[in-house]
């Protein structure tokens, strides 16, 4: 089948990822702030018997990249093979977006423009004449809405047509610039880019292009012409910097084109009204804290409603399966190992969904960028900046995307500091452990607040660590903070429910595969060796306890336990905490296996009761503190290692959270001892 490789390029937050999702049914991450996509992703679909391979790229403000994720896009455009550029434009911000369009038009590849967000633009009375645009620039374009799903089929017909006709843009700058481009083109010989592109990039001091043509034999002959060209532009434009001249040139061109193709829209006023309150100089910060508090409160109280129900279902399911299977190894493994473990983990799905919903709404509405604005002053005091806030908040969901999101930080020091403290933003997988222990040890009225305190405590510790890192290891000023505040948008209910459904599926899949396998191993190690001979002299009711206490797992746990004894841990807690290094849910599933007493009609909810009976309050405090601070799961650690090439930082990252966690737990344990 014929294949077209289409690169989606555009400024941040214009709807590139959303457009791909809408046309192909993919589930790329979408959010209403700049810097959602930070790595290249590929999605395929078919139209008119042709396979279209869409490459979603991070948004970039220009071809002079500022942050590492913007660099990804430029590298792709310069170094990789593709057939066509699909430039996505936010119709509400035509001038600014088109200034970037002209930059990529210079490349000389076939190109199509999507005027996205046309739903919003036309609602405000705006109109864009795409035929006129085609006449002016030779770029086919279509007015589309990724959200309302219109214009997309026509857009891709134009993509196919443009590809077949090999139709390339014709965008020209003012006469003086064009003359100098022509002069330069004469000196440019073989090169994988078009001569025009090279000439323009040289005028605007593009280091990447310099590097590439530096070794060409014709390079030295070109230098004089280039120098003369820049000199002439400086004089004519009364501006020292030729890069600035090109920016202004393109901006002027945009303005000219916009007056010809677009009917202006009325100004949207809702955003300003909402911002009057949400980022009010005095109220802004309290409002932010209140929103976070409300999210955690809801996570706890709403999340516990379906708990009993899930719990009962798993209990009944276990009995039912137990009735079907013949007695023996397999039945034991499933009824006493896998089912209670999965049940214990799935029980917390509602909590996780609510937390995820809260974070997702912050991302989708545009509040995330506001929160970054509000928090910038606070973060600055800790040696960070507002931009760091977004990876940190994503860290409450999952550390893996949070590490990736740190790519939006330009300065490597800021980036490393942020990445080193992301682990202290407790991720969703730690939530089950907190909910379990908070339900077991705190009065119902304050449980939501305790949960909030755990998260805030983690975040504050993270900030203090950041401050220390900045003072000791990363001296220097934080990078400038410049960030667009998008207009407020309200996602469709259907889209939100769909996101939750995807999240549910992923969580259940993890419970059914990874967690199930882990609990099977734990069950096996805790049920063997069988000790047939010794058991003969032990009364039936104590047999189980005997096996457990003399199992392989008990041996392992007891060997390590001296380290954790100062925290009041028995080998069971020790094993659970260590198993949690694989994934935090495993802490809960391991406890479910180790504290499960078979042949009782015990269900997962009673895990709360069992925990309360078997673990002392100070030890519970120590466990919570360890979970808050020690290393995240293997997947997260792998991501950090992949993103940070320096060995010393990898080692530091792998060790220091565990030391910190241990010290915190030790302090917490002893304080709790005083009070109880």
């Amino acid at each position: 089948m014929k294949e077209i490789k289409v690169a989606l390029v555009g400024q941040p937050n214009v709807g590139k990822s959303h457009l791909i999702n809408s046309i192909s049914g993919a589930t790329l991450h979408v959010g209403n702030f700049s810097g959602v996509t930070v790595e290249k992703k590929e999605v395929e679909f078919e139209r008119e018997g042709i396979k279209l391979r869409l490459i979603d790229l991070p948004g970039t403000y220009s071809l002079h990249p500022y942050t590492p994720e913007e660099r990804v896009t430029k590298e792709f455009l310069l170094k990789e093979e593709y057939d066509l550029i699909l430039n996505v434009v936010d119709s509400n911000q035509l001038e600014k977006n088109l200034a970037f369009t002209w930059q990529i038009a210079d490349i000389g590849k076939p190109m199509v423009v999507a005027f996205n967000m046309y739903d919003e633009y036309s609602k405000q009375g705006g109109e864009i004449d795409t035929d006129k645009f085609f006449k002016l620039t030779n770029i086919r374009a279509e007015n589309v809405s990724a959200k309302e799903k219109f214009g997309l089929e026509r857009l891709f017909s134009k993509v196919i047509k443009t590809y077949e006709e090999k139709n390339t843009p014709r965008v020209y700058y003012s006469e003086i610039v064009e003359e100098e481009i022509e002069n330069l083109k004469e000196k440019i010989k073989e090169c994988k880019f078009s001569k025009r592109f090279v000439a323009i990039r040289l005028i605007e001091d593009d280091e990447d292009i310099y590097k590439i043509i530096h070794e060409k034999p014709w390079y030295s002959e070109l230098l004089d012409v280039l120098k003369a060209a820049k000199e002439r532009l400086r004089v004519e434009y009364d501006e020292e910097d030729t890069k600035t001249i090109m920016f202004e040139e393109r901006f002027a061109l945009s303005k000219g084109v916009v007056t010809q193709i677009a009917k202006k829209a009325r100004k949207e006023t809702l955003t300003e009204k909402i911002d009057k309150i949400l980022i009010h100089p005095i109220l802004g910060l309290p409002i932010f804290l209140f929103i976070m508090w409300a999210i955690f409160q809801a996570t706890f109280s709403l999340g516990s409603i379906p708990m009993d129900w899930i719990d009962a279902s798993f209990g009944a399911f276990g009995e039912w399966v137990g009735g079907l299977l013949p007695d023996g190894f397999i039945k034991d493994a499933i009824v006493n190992g896998v089912i209670p473990a999965i049940g214990a983990v799935v029980m917390f799905l509602p909590n996780i969904l609510i937390l995820y919903l809260g974070i997702n709404l912050m991302e989708q509405t545009g509040y995330m960028a506001r929160a970054a604005y509000v928090m910038d002053g606070v973060l600055k005091r800790f040696g960070l900046q507002g931009r760091s806030f977004i990876p940190l908040v994503s860290g409450f969901g999952c550390s893996v995307p949070a590490y990736m999101a740190a790519r939006t930080l330009k300065n490597p020091k800021d980036r490393l500091i942020t990445m080193l403290i992301i682990g202290f933003m407790s991720c969703g997988a730690r939530l089950p452990v907190y909910v379990l222990f908070v339900s077991a040890f705190f009065a119902p009225e304050i449980q939501g607040n305790v949960l909030f305190a755990i998260y805030i405590g983690g975040a504050l510790t993270g900030l203090i660590v950041a401050k220390i890192l900045r003072a000791v290891l990363f001296k220097g000023e934080p990078e400038p903070f410049v960030m667009e505040l998008p207009k407020y948008r309200f996602p469709k209910i259907k889209a939100i429910l769909f996101d939750l459904w995807i999240k549910t599926k992923m969580y259940l899949k993890k419970a059914g595969t990874f967690i199930a396998a882990a609990s099977l191993i734990i069950w096996f190690l805790s049920s063997y060796p069988a000790h047939e001979k010794e058991l003969q002299n032990i009364p039936g009711s104590e047999k189980q306890a005997y096996i457990l206490e003399h199992s392989y797992l008990a041996d392992i746990g007891k060997a390590i336990n001296p380290i954790f004894e100062p925290l009041g841990f028995t080998w069971k807690e020790t094993v659970s905490i260590i198993a949690g290094l694989a994934a935090k849910e495993v802490v809960v599933s391991t406890m479910a296996v180790l504290y499960h007493t078979p042949d009782s009609d015990e269900t997962s909810k009673e895990l709360v009761e069992t925990i309360r009976k078997n673990i002392s309050f100070p030890t519970a405090v120590a466990i919570i503190l360890i979970i808050m601070f020690y290393s995240p799961c293997l997947a997260a650690m792998g991501t950090f290692w992949a993103e940070v090439p320096q060995w010393k930082w990898r080692l530091f990252y792998t060790i220091y959270p565990n030391v910190l966690a241990y010290l915190m737990a030790l302090i917490g344990y002893n304080i709790a001892l005083l009070f109880s």
Binding site: Y66, K380, F481, V482, M483
Partner: protein
Amino acid sequence: MRLNELKIGESGIIKKIYAKEPLKSKLLSMGITRGEKIKVLKHTLAKNTFDIEVGNSNIALREEEAKQIEVEKM
């Protein structure tokens, strides 16, 4: 005068950008270019962070960055 000297609600015309590369390119590509109208919508209590409007976009930036933008008050 510089952008950070404008009060809330005041506007100016951008005259020059003193920021160094690569910040300069970033500001330019966000539409903060010579001749454009720029308005201070808000700033935080301590005047650390500004919320400004240029073209059709709202941009948050710090005092340090605002200082590097020369404007003429309207």
